[in-house]
């Protein structure tokens, strides 16, 4: 019955002959491991087709959906991370296997007549595979792929004569946009795979026509492709699959921050297998000969020499073969050396590592936001990131605030602030714990210490000098102020009998500042307030201490409201006429208070005449930027698991100390001499006082 069915089918298709021809190819000298490379390539391509089609079912090429759909595949879809991971690593495996296949072909002389044509078909296949990796690198539309591919398409434009047109055609316009993605995707998933299949069919057909290039006929008795060689091929393919799966499972394909043309990316690098070319281009000697030379002529010559190998052998005989082998080994060695150089240099390049960490960090954060309650808005993940206080606040702080203030010792983005190659001393309070319980407590029990950084400021030293010269100067001195006098009662403040009062007061002020995430959704707001962890039982006592002066001992009868107004009230930006000469404590350190303070630090309701902080009008920090900065400083953003920059307060204290006179600041190490995201806009002369 089965036989009859097979015969019926064979009569109509000739399948038996076909299978016979496919499986019973002669393998003189026996099955060998060295013959497996071609099969592993076919297998990896099959992997790419399967995973590629699956990714295609979910991928959406446009500047507002590419990153977003890849995010969705990677983080939301069943096995998405694995499918994308396999595709990502199998692509790299394919390049490696192709290099091995090429070397194998050259050393075994499989390019010699009559197999020249097949060798050239192989080179076409190699170019198609490189084209596939290049086009695939851009498709996630993340910072990494975006900037690296920019470099490649710009190199294209260096092609003599037609460069500009080629670039425009590849990009689908003069700049990157939707059409760049649709075109790259059409190339990646349609045109190039179709070409690859066509050339692969020819490659295998011609290969079968001439048969295997036997390495050593006497190695073993002759056998056939099935099953001896197929077994070895299958084992090799399984090994490739295992490596790809392990990498996909344990390393995973990264998705860095969504591409943003307005946010620069300092770590643009091609995929690692193109790094040798990148490193080659970085030699100044190569550069001085022009980009066309390094990026187009030299690679062209190398490909030319490889393509001419059959002719080299034809005209020079066995010597030609030796030349070819020597060339391929030398090329391989050069690629290994250049790749290693690029890796080692990048590993030791602190700004590069910092830029990578930054892209990784922003990528993580965007993924967090995209997974958040509001998902991704229609204007895309890049807009989501632009509106995120956690991501943007630190940037704004580094740009506008860090020339005087620090954030846990650094500039808000993990880098020490440097002036003339030395770590610069802050001239205003460190805002790393702004509005926290520690912050409130430090103001109460150690006011001079809390604001000691202002003593590093030039205005402070000038004022001191002026005063020493016997002139009348009005300035703020943290050691000599009414608050310092009151706060100077450290023993009374920290005495056992006042412990509960102090704790309650701190809790009250902390509660009034009201830091923490305030989502628009009101149901969530209530939870968020609880999460803030205010001990509500202490608040009544705290308020009484602040307004009525319920202190024990020396402080008895004194209270915050002796001087400060507004305690317990909503913050209102009242005019200077109503000012009392003391900063208002209405919702001190809250978002409303801070936004008003940054705009008008010298107003009577804040520091008045003795203020030294520069005001930031809307021309310098727009309303949106101010809101992002304030929300960052008051912790009002979707809670994050992204690791914060390490606290560098101790490092700062150790290098600049709190004794600016006569101390020897440490020379800056390479990582802190990093390039700047942006220069600060405030002139050095405008030294503000602390909060």
């Amino acid at each position: 019955m089965l036989n009859a069915l097979v015969k019926w089918f064979d009569d109509r298709t000739g399948i038996k002959d076909l299978m016979n021809e496919a499986l019973y190819e002669r393998v003189p000298g026996g099955a060998r491991w060295r013959y497996v490379w071609g099969s592993t390539l076919v297998f990896t391509f099959t992997l790419q087709v399967i995973t590629g089609f699956m990714l295609w079912t979910a991928y959406s090429p446009s500047t507002r959906t590419a990153w977003e759909s890849v995010y969705y595949i990677q983080n939301e879809m069943t096995l998405g991370f694995l499918i994308r991971g396999i595709h990502h690593f199998a692509a790299q495996a394919m390049v490696v296997l192709m290099a091995i296949h090429l070397v194998q072909v050259v050393i075994d002389g499989a390019y010699k007549a009559p197999r020249e044509l097949n060798f050239w078909l192989g080179i076409v296949l190699l170019k198609i595979v490189l084209g596939l990796s290049l086009t695939g690198y851009l498709l996630p539309w993340d910072q990494k792929g975006y900037y690296a591919t920019q470099v490649t398409t710009n190199i294209m434009s260096a092609t003599p004569v037609v460069g500009g047109e080629v670039q425009t055609l590849a990009q689908g316009g003069t700049e990157y946009g939707h059409l760049t993605l649709t075109r790259f995707f059409a190339m990646h998933a349609g045109i190039l795979p179709a070409l690859l299949v066509a050339f692969l069919a020819l490659h295998i057909y011609v290969f079968r026509r001439h048969g295997l290039t036997v390495h050593d006929e006497k190695h073993a008795p002759e056998t056939t492709f099935w099953p001896d060689q197929v077994l070895k091929d299958a084992v090799a393919c399984l090994a490739v699959l295992a490596v790809v799966l392990l990498l996909a499972l344990f390393k995973g394909a990264e998705l860095s921050a969504p591409a943003d043309p307005a946010v620069k990316f300092d770590a643009a690098r091609p995929e690692w297998y193109f790094l040798f070319l990148f490193r080659f281009l970085r030699f100044h000697a190569v550069e001085s000969l022009g980009l066309t030379f390094g990026a187009i002529i030299v690679p062209g010559i190398i490909m030319g020499i490889i393509a001419l190998m059959p002719l080299t052998h034809k005209f020079l005989g066995e010597f030609g073969h030796t030349v070819n082998k020597a060339f391929i080994w030398l090329l391989g060695a050069a690629i290994v050396v250049l790749t290693a150089m690029a890796f080692i240099e990048d590993a030791n390049d602190k700004p590069h590592q910092a830029a990578l960490a930054e892209a990784h960090r922003e990528g993580q954060r965007t993924i967090e936001l995209a997974s958040g309650p509001d998902k991704i808005p229609v204007d895309g993940a890049v807009a989501l990131l632009r509106r995120d206080p956690f991501a943007q606040g630190a940037r704004l702080f580094a740009k506008h605030c860090s020339s005087c203030h620090r954030y846990n010792g650094h500039d808000g983005r993990g880098t020490m602030v440097v002036d003339n190659n030395v770590i610069a001393a802050p001239t205003a309070a460190d805002l790393g714990n702004f509005g926290s319980r520690e912050w409130m407590k430090s103001i109460i029990v150690d006011f001079p210490g809390h604001l000691s950084a202002v003593k590093n400021a030039k205005w402070f030293k000038d004022a001191k000098a002026e005063e020493a010269a016997g002139n009348e100067v009005e300035y703020f001195d943290p050691d000599n102020s009414e608050m310092a006098d009151w706060s100077g009662n450290v023993e009374a403040l920290t005495s056992a009998e006042n412990a509960d009062n102090l704790k309650a007061l701190v809790e009250y002020l902390y509660s009034e500042a009201g830091h923490g995430y305030k989502p628009a959704d009101e149901d969530v707001t209530a939870d968020a307030a609880d999460a803030n962890g205010v001990n509500t039982e202490l608040l009544a006592v705290g308020k009484a201490v602040a307004t009525e002066g319920a202190w024990a001992g020396d402080l008895n009868g004194t209270s915050c409201s002796d001087c400060h107004s507004g305690i317990g009230e909503e913050f209102v930006a009242f005019s200077d006429d109503d000012a009392t000469g003391y900063p208002t404590l209405a919702k001190y350190a809250s978002a409303e208070w801070l936004a008003d303070f940054i705009r008008n630090p010298g107003a009577g309701r804040h520091y008045g005449a003795r203020n030294r902080m520069k005001a930031y009008p809307a021309e310098q920090i727009s309303d949106e930027e101010l809101s992002l900065l304030v929300r960052w400083l008051t912790g009002d953003y979707l809670p994050t698991k992204v690791e914060d920059y390490p606290n560098r307060l101790e490092e700062l204290a150790a290098t600049v100390g709190q004794q600016p006179e006569g101390s020897q600041p440490k020379e800056v190490s390479a990582d802190d001499a990093a390039t700047e995201e942006s220069a600060t806009t405030e002139p050095a002369a405008a030294d503000p006082a602390g909060e």
Partner: protein, 206 residues
Amino acid sequence: MSDKETSDVSAPVDKHENHPSTRRNILVEGLTAILSFLLVAVPSTLGGIFFLDPILRRNKAGSAGGGELEGFIKLAITSDSVPEDGTPVAVTVQSDLDDAWNRFKDVPVGSIWLRKNPDGRILVFNSVCPHLGCSVDYRRNEGDFFCPCHTSSFDLDGQKTNEVPPRAMDTLELLTATNGAVSEGGQELWVKYQNFRRATAEKIVI
């Protein structure tokens, strides 16, 4: 059933034996060749022209006439807030961005460096490296502009200081204005934001 019908029709006939070239055959062959060529050429040409759209479209774009500030974008920063000491400031340029079928309203389209000369004149550079399009940084310690991709470096006037970049940093036109009218010494800064071909010695607008 004749013999002919049971023979193997899948095997090709020997052309020279059975089909002597008659005048009719030559005509049929020629016609078939032309038809076949057309069948391939028509869709390929149409497809090819469609593919060339980005180049063909580029030549169609024209700019509407307008006032002195037509084509200029107002920056968020004012003349006075550019540091007097010549320290460069990075500014993000916000504008409407057309991308194929979308218009994105008031989004960041790029970034520029502004720097005040001692004579008070403000220089504007596009922060895109003229080499291969990475972003140029300001290095405070070295007092220069530097591109971390392929180590292009420039002095603070934008002139190249090594052989990597093909040309100096791209300067952009700047106008000062007051309340939207061009005025010498005005506080508003308006820049003509343009990008230029990378990797060429000449500065070619794209």
